[in-house]
Subunit: 462 residues, 2 copies
């Protein structure tokens, strides 16, 4: 059982834990920018250093991309093994001019730490390291065996992790996996996520004339790649907001009535969200509540677009090229590859003959729907109650954690515990990303409690 | 009458004229980029130096923007006055990676000089300066009075020229204006342009949520500015390629039958153009030939688009903002301001309530249709025949020369002679812009002949 001394130790060390987190947040480990590769490695080394100080057998493993930090302390014979997953890489910070303080110069305001990666995911996985540190400082040993895997490619959807897991299948054998890379239901209401949306992220590029043309001399004679691209994008959704790609909804698992009732019971606060986003309404697929749309229904968004002259002033050209990034959030049982094919087939049918179209798959992830009534899940619920002082609710998340697929398929671990310590308005992927330091602290307490709750499952009569 | 010695002098000086042109082409006088302002001024000073050496009273006049070079040599009492107009500023050179040689390091290949501004307009207006130089070197005087106005804001559609003309109305009084800022009908077929399209160039920006959002956490809840922008752009044209803005065609002057017959007689080479552009077809407004569409019918193009994440890799955001530049080529009697209002009203009707739309007018120009049978026009035709050895054809140009409006309205000069020395495939506004040096030379000969042909109009019985 989790001792009071451990919780007291965690409470007493709060300030130091925060200061250590700030070190990690100062490292600009942006995985998608190749010029940041050295920073990404620096973050890996920093995390490895932390684990070595906890007497974990620690390796910084090379991959085709950014390194994986792999560590274990498995000196508790007869007890189960928990694998803790996290990622030390972060999203690009752009647009920089919207940050109140520089993304990699963490600042504490009103009980929040502001920095890129604060909540996604540096601040969250770090709670496990500090929980383990506190336990060891009091008990000199852990209640269960623990393995830690912190990767550096999550924000580019983990291209190297598949091969890595296959290669280290034995090293990674575990009974449960804990992932804190999401959020609570809302501020003050901790949650366990049993569902994740998948992802199909594509890039399309169009080529019209061989080079940019004078719009006066040639206007009226050539297809304009920007207008063709706009026409394609405009036809990806129907008037009512549903997605127009033929077959897109084919494999979508309908929401059960009980689940819709439960989601409704969470009283999703639409007014507060509109205020936060600065929007007048929350439009979307008809027949579904915002809560259902953001977690249990598939969506399509354009993430970026470019073409022609975007500089200062005016340039009267017909551009040769235009392109866009389009991503779709998927739900069970949609398959990213099947959706990619359906998207490309449909888009090709919309591009006029003679214009060149290129569609590239930038990344993908399968949706996840996990069991809720298994003992490890209930143990996690008790741990959160111990750490946050509140019973968690069960939710589905709108985001994707692609590696959950990999863990299920490669490591065959049934119990993947998705325990978000952050808040939905922490601004993950946005300017002014932040993490509430009370949540950071409660996360550490919950992580410590989790180790003991999982150990208790082995006790007689558990 | 133009003497043989003058033509011989021009032929003998050909090489030196080219070398002097290369000096001017090396100055990166890009008027739309503020950081190039010093280069723009350097070009003005260089042109002024040339005119001073020809004993022109020369001033480099300050404006709210880039300077205007104003010069005159009006020492031929009783003879009419020709005003020569040109511009020493150039388009931005982007995309740079498509240039075979650097845009501001002119290179001569296969009888062409390659550089930004070679044909638009440095190489063309320079022909008048060299023609005047040749005449003076032989005759020591000019056959008529000549004024020269070379501006530095044509590529940003001359914001300062309106006030400038109003202020210098007296200094600029003239009987004819000659402008060589267009092209021949095609390689080897010189032309006089009697029509120009107008322009309405707008920029629209959309703002959705307050900041970029995580597409997983918020996908399904908010309008995506890129998709809204795409939907707007997609509705600017109808399926058949006609422009969908209500009232857009209201003031369009229909083509006369004789004019359509004449255009048809020019045997526009569609195959050659497709080959040059690298396109499979020349789509456009139904019921009109490519020649009619590119010169005598209004068109709409997107010139640039931006929004969200356009960098390397993937970033799963819903962007806060997106924007596009859209320009419309206008024909008589469309009015740019009226078209701007119609565009903005229509676009506003397409933007969902609660999303912020901003439409800015980046520039505009009225279309032009000039008389073809007046004596000065016929005199220009004879000058071209003398210079190029071929009778010119009469054409309408697809491009705009906004200052023609200003000259007509402010200076009340009836005869504006549009004498293009370049070729349609010179790549004005495109990478690898060029000017055929034989055309440069023929242009100088024609410019010299023009002064004498215009002088002859004063002769008894002319």
């Amino acid at each position: 059982m989790l001792s009071q001394q451990i919780l007291q130790c965690i409470d007493a060390s709060r300030q130091r834990y925060v200061e250590e987190l700030l070190h990690l947040l100062r490292i600009p480990s942006v995985s998608t920018y190749s010029q940041h590769a050295p920073d990404v490695r620096a973050a890996a080394d920093w995390v490895a250093g932390q684990l070595r100080r906890l007497s974990f057998q620690t390796r910084v493993c090379e991959t085709a991309g950014h390194p994986v930090v792999l560590a274990e302390r498995t000196d508790v014979p007869g007890m189960p093994t928990l694998l803790v997953y996290g990622h030390y890489d972060v999203q690009p910070p752009e647009p920089l001019d919207e940050w109140k303080s520089p993304p990699f110069s963490p600042v504490i305001r009103d009980g929040y730490v502001y920095a890129r990666g604060a909540t996604d995911d540096k601040g969250q996985f770090f709670t496990y390291l500090k929980a383990i540190e506190a336990i060891l400082s009091i008990e000199k040993k852990l209640p269960i065996n623990v393995k830690v895997l912190i990767e550096g490619e999550e924000e580019i959807t983990s291209p190297s992790l598949g091969p890595f897991l296959a290669e280290h299948k034995q090293d990674l054998r575990a009974d449960f996996i804990a992932i804190s890379d999401g959020s609570q239901y809302k501020f003050g209401i901790p949650a366990i996520s049993y569902g994740l949306r998948g992802l199909c992220y594509l890039q399309m590029e169009l080529q019209g004339p061989r080079f940019d043309l004078h719009s006066g001399s040639f206007g009226g004679l050539v297809e304009n790649p920007i207008l063709v691209l706009a026409n394609v994008l405009a036809r990806l959704k129907n008037e009512d907001g549903t997605i127009a790609i033929p077959g897109f909804y084919e494999d979508v698992l309908p929401l059960e009535e009980w689940e819709r009732r439960e989601m409704a019971s969470l009283n999703f606060d639409e007014e507060a969200l509109k205020e936060y986003l600065g929007v007048a309404s929350l439009p979307g697929e008809p027949g579904y509540t915002p809560m259902e749309r953001k977690t249990a229904r598939p969506t399509l968004d354009a993430n970026g677009i470019w073409g022609g002259f975007a500089g200062e002033g005016s340039k009267t050209i017909i551009p040769a090229r235009a392109g866009a990034k389009v991503s779709m959030r998927l739900v069970p049982n949609q398959d990213p590859d099947k959706i990619h094919k359906a998207f490309e087939k449909y888009v090709r049918s919309l591009v006029p003959q003679g214009m060149h179209l290129n569609v590239r798959n930038l990344n993908g992830a399968k949706p996840v729907l996990a069991a809720r009534d298994r003992k490890p899940v209930l143990a996690a619920a008790r741990a959160i109650e111990a750490g946050f002082g509140k019973r968690p609710v069960f939710i589905r998340e709108g985001g994707s954690i692609p590696i959950v697929n990999l863990f299920q398929e490669t490591l065959e671990v049934q119990d993947i515990l998705l325990l978000g310590w952050g808040c939905p308005d922490d601004g993950a992927h946005s300017p002014n990303e932040r993490f509430f330091l009370d949540d950071f602290h409660s996360g550490i307490r919950s992580a410590a409690a989790l180790l003991y709750e999982l150990a208790a499952l082995q006790a007689p009569g558990a």
